[in-house]
Amino acid sequence: MFRLFLLIVFCVIGCETPTDIGSRKTIIYTFDGLTQDLIRQLARTDPLYQNFDRRFKGLFVPGRLLEYEPFVLALSTASKIPTVLLLDAPWVHRYAKSGWLYELERTGIYSKEALVPAVAQAFSVPVPQSNGQLVEELMAVPTSIKGNILFYRQDLLKRYHLAPPRNWTELKAVCRKILPQEPGLKYGLIFHVTNFNNDFYPILWGFGGDILNRRGQLVLHEPEILNAGIAALREICAMSGSLTPSVEDLKNFEAPQSLRRAFYQGKTLFMINWNTRMQDLKEMIRHGDKVGPGTLTDLSQIGVAPIPCQSGHSNRYSNVGSFGWGINQFAITNPEIRETAARFIQLVAAEPVQVLAAKNKGQIPALAGALEKVKGTDVWQVYQQIFASEEVRLRPRPQSRLVNNILEEHLFEALYGQSSPEAALTAASVELKELLRTE
């Protein structure tokens, strides 16, 4: 009895939990207009999304400052703001490798089991464990699956009883068969001229080439990889003027939306573009602005397939363009913030949001459960035809803008015929080696 009395005395006098007086009630996230629209729509019917703006504060970043990468400065100086960031896949890798992002799966905030494996892999980063082993850890929760794919004229391929090409040899063969018989078709294949490297990366990977390995080390200068890269670039350059736009025509595709317009107008048999362009094409067809005899009139005229690889390679690749929600490592100063951040991610990456984004914006849900709910739609079909395939790999491009700029510069030289593919890529590898040495 007396011990019990003492225990109570100890409990009352000396064992109370210290009060955390410094915790915040709201967290700050990087504002995103699309997310905001979706949340507002859901708030009308779902009480979970009501008062969202009161609980979570959006951080508005002036557009002109984005090019300076303000979050790099913030996170590199251990800033607690913002708590949650919406990051492009390459940035997830860059930030995670610098130790700026909070691990999501190990800490129990989010399980990647619910995510489609391909996109979960794209947002996972190898993290060294205490025993020295590297373990793939989910560092951001993707809201959708976005990657560049090959759009093709399904109606024409069907007409000529041809299957979508799996490699570049097949693609060229399809083009050579159809183009002479379809005078409306001006090009066999078109791709982005600005930011060409975004379209080139999956081609390069499909040839077994790469720029950096998963640890961020330069591999392009390695002979085997450099040769693969040269082969990939040579393949593209070799089609210039015959299947792809000539050097003179390339400038026609520098303007925004020029690619999708050309495809809509029926000027090309194949197009490399983001999968989200399907929604744009759908809208264009719905509006029915006929600009020529070959203009698409029905969505069934459009087919999608993975970007071809080199003959003999089993995997085809897509340059992941999805965004994901990551948590600032330095912001997690107490359990309350951690819980609030977890709750935020649970809300913004939840099934209803992804289903609504699929319906409104044509985004492919990253959650397997949400995909089930959009079964049968064109979004689901794109997923089934491309990202559900085991041979398709979603990979992020190198995160360094300098690396991309150097590569792009030399790719342009080759694309515009100013240098050979060999010279261009060799020069790029030398320059990148120098850059990474100094960096």
Binding site: F2, F5, L6, V9, F10, I13, G14, P18, E67, Y68, E69, P70, V72, L73, S76, T77, A78, S79, K97, S98, G99, R401, L402, N405, T438, E439
Partner: protein
């Protein structure tokens, strides 16, 4: 005046006081436990304070370092610096360093370390430290040069330069122990130069030293304040305990005393009955009645029961006394009757002899009267016979006559004595002489004793004492009857009276018999106070009660040769 019960240590009052004392001691211990609690609480508070201050300082250091890094990130010219000759940007950078360190007392020093190192592992570095500590030589101004780093700092710089990671373990290692630059908290941040189109370009490491002297002063102040709190609280607690202890003991003592007063009073009254101090049950009943329960239900209940018990005991005692007296008289009578019978038979025999002699004279006279003639001798004989018939007793010898007379006298004495005890006089208190009735009782008992019992009497002349003749006679009879039962053939009975003091007489009855233990003697005196079986006869107990009733004293002592010695001391005069 009531006696004090011997159970005072176990009494309710003492237990309540002990309980109160124990409760206070527990309270005392609990309060004293506050000291270690206070110590641990303050220690915990100190640790938390240190932790909080260190966290605050770390946050402050991080914030200041961040602000500086953000400012340095605008120095896009830094991207063009190279080792070797002085460049245009150098002056700007060094001026900035000097201003920041000189005019902000929180900033102890700054280093900007370029990521690129030469073949010897040296980095182009701009640095300036205030070096305020007396043992450190002050720097003449900001410096630029190639600097080589070692140990944990080198590892930390490598991890930042290669992976952009500020490893906490290495940062902690660098901050532990003495530093070349002086005592300060160091922060290392990657320094990016953001450029349009190109984004944030990594340049190197910004190393910022933050002053920690204010934190040390704060911690010292905390420690001193806690010592003060400890001493003050300790003193206050000790004073509180002292005052509350005095108050508690005072209150508990008086409260307990008042609370237990009725029960204590009742117990003391009951104790007099238990110890036999009381001889007057009516008085004892009155004493019980006078106990004030003070509203305590339990005491009131006990009081009622004791009063009823007193009444019952009185009735039972009366019956017991009456019954025991009758029993005693019956036993004595039963024993004396054979003696009386023998005496009676002797008288009858003597009477028969007289009767027989008279009849023979009568027959002889008839023979002479029937004869026609008588000779002179016959006539003379006839005259003698007629004379003898007129006084036939004259034919007996004087010895026979004496024997007859003695027998008759003895018989008469026995009958008178027996009658005295069987039909006692009324209980009257007066001055009485003890010796005659003591003798009378002895006479009555003597014939009933075993054969050859030697009776010794040593009576001194005693003054008359104030008492009840009937009760005292009964007492003598009780004692002698008990002695009779104990005495064996050839035994000894001694009865003595004396006056040991002018106001006191003493009667001693000593007799042989089997040895008696103290417990047996105690059973005789106070049969209810021992656990032994009560005596078969209550005579001695009742005799003792009679002596106490006469304000006398009665004691029993064992004789060395066996048997007992009863001594009764009675006051001569009536007590006030």
């Amino acid at each position: 005046m009531l006696g004090s019960p011997p159970f005072s240590r176990n009494s309710l009052r003492h237990r309540l006081m002990a309980l109160g004392g124990t409760a206070f001691l527990i309270y005392l211990v609990v309060i004293l436990l506050f000291f270690p609690l206070l110590h641990f609480t303050l220690k915990d508070l100190m640790e938390r304070t240190i932790r909080t201050i260190e966290e605050q300082k770390a946050n402050e250091a991080t914030t200041i370092a961040r602000l500086l890094v953000l400012e340095f990130s605008h120095l896009s010219e830094l991207l063009n610096v190279e080792p070797g000759g002085e460049q245009q940007i150098d002056q700007r950078v060094m001026r900035l360093l000097w201003e920041k360190v000189t005019f902000n007392e929180v900033i102890e020093g700054i280093e900007l370390i370029h990521a690129v190192s030469d073949a010897e592992g040296r980095h182009l570095t701009y640095w300036y430290y205030r070096r305020e500590e007396p043992e450190l030589e002050p720097m003449p101004g900001p410096l630029r040069g190639l600097k080589k780093f070692t140990g944990s700092e080198r590892q930390l710089l490598e991890s930042i330069n290669t992976q952009r990671i500020v490893r906490e373990d290495l940062l902690g290692a660098v901050n532990r122990g003495p530093k070349q630059e002086g005592e300060m908290l160091l922060r290392y941040f990657p320094l990016y130069i953001p450029l349009p189109e190109l984004g944030a370009i990594y340049w190197g490491v910004a190393k910022i030293g933050i002053d920690v002297d204010s934190m040390r002063r704060m911690l010292l102040f905390q420690s001193q304040e806690q010592s003060k709190i400890r001493n003050t609280v300790g003193l206050e607690i000790m004073l509180s305990l002292l005052i509350s202890g005095l108050l508690a003991f005072g209150v508990v003592y008086f409260w307990t005393k008042k609370l237990t007063q009725p029960l204590n009073h009742l117990s003391r009254v009951a104790y007099t009955l238990e110890t036999g101090q009381t001889t007057n049950l009516e008085l004892w009943h009155d004493n019980v009645e006078q106990v004030d329960p003070q509203g305590q239900v339990e005491v009131n209940y006990l009081r009622r029961v004791l009063m009823r018990l007193a009444q019952t005991i009185a009735k039972v005692s009366q019956q017991l006394v009456g019954a025991e007296g009758q029993a005693c008289q019956g036993r004595v009578a039963g024993k004396i009757i054979p003696t009386l019978k023998m005496q009676s038979r002797t008288c009858q025999e003597l009477q028969g002899e007289v009767q027989e002699s008279y009849q023979s004279l009568l027959n002889l006279l008839k023979v002479y009267e029937s004869l026609p003639s008588l000779t002179a001798a016959q006539r003379e004989e006839m005259r003698v016979v007629r004379k003898q018939l007129e006084s036939p007793y004259k034919r007996f010898s004087p010895a026979k006559w004496t024997a007859l007379a003695t027998n008759l006298q003895t018989l008469d004495t026995y009958l008178q004595d027996l009658g005295h005890f069987l039909e006692p006089p009324e209980a009257v208190w007066d001055y009485i002489n003890l010796i005659p009735n003591l003798n009378r009782a002895l006479n009555l008992i003597a014939p009933t004793l075993a054969p050859e019992v030697k009776i010794s009497k040593g009576f001194e002349i005693l003054p008359a004492i104030w008492g009840c003749q009937r009760d005292l006679d009964q007492a003598w009879l009780y004692l002698l009857d008990y002695a009779r039962q104990e005495l064996a053939a050839g035994g000894e009975l001694v009865i003595q009276t004396r006056q040991p003091a002018s106001n006191q007489v003493e009667i001693t009855l000593s007799f042989s018999g089997p040895p008696k233990s103290e417990a047996e003697i105690q059973t005789l005196l106070a049969p209810f106070q021992t656990s032994a079986a009560p005596p078969v006869h209550w005579g001695v107990t009742l005799a003792a009660a009679i002596f106490r009733q006469h304000h006398g004293d009665f004691s029993i002592k064992p004789r060395d040769a066996g048997g007992l010695s009863f001594t009764a001391r009675l006051p001569i005069g009536a007590l006030p």
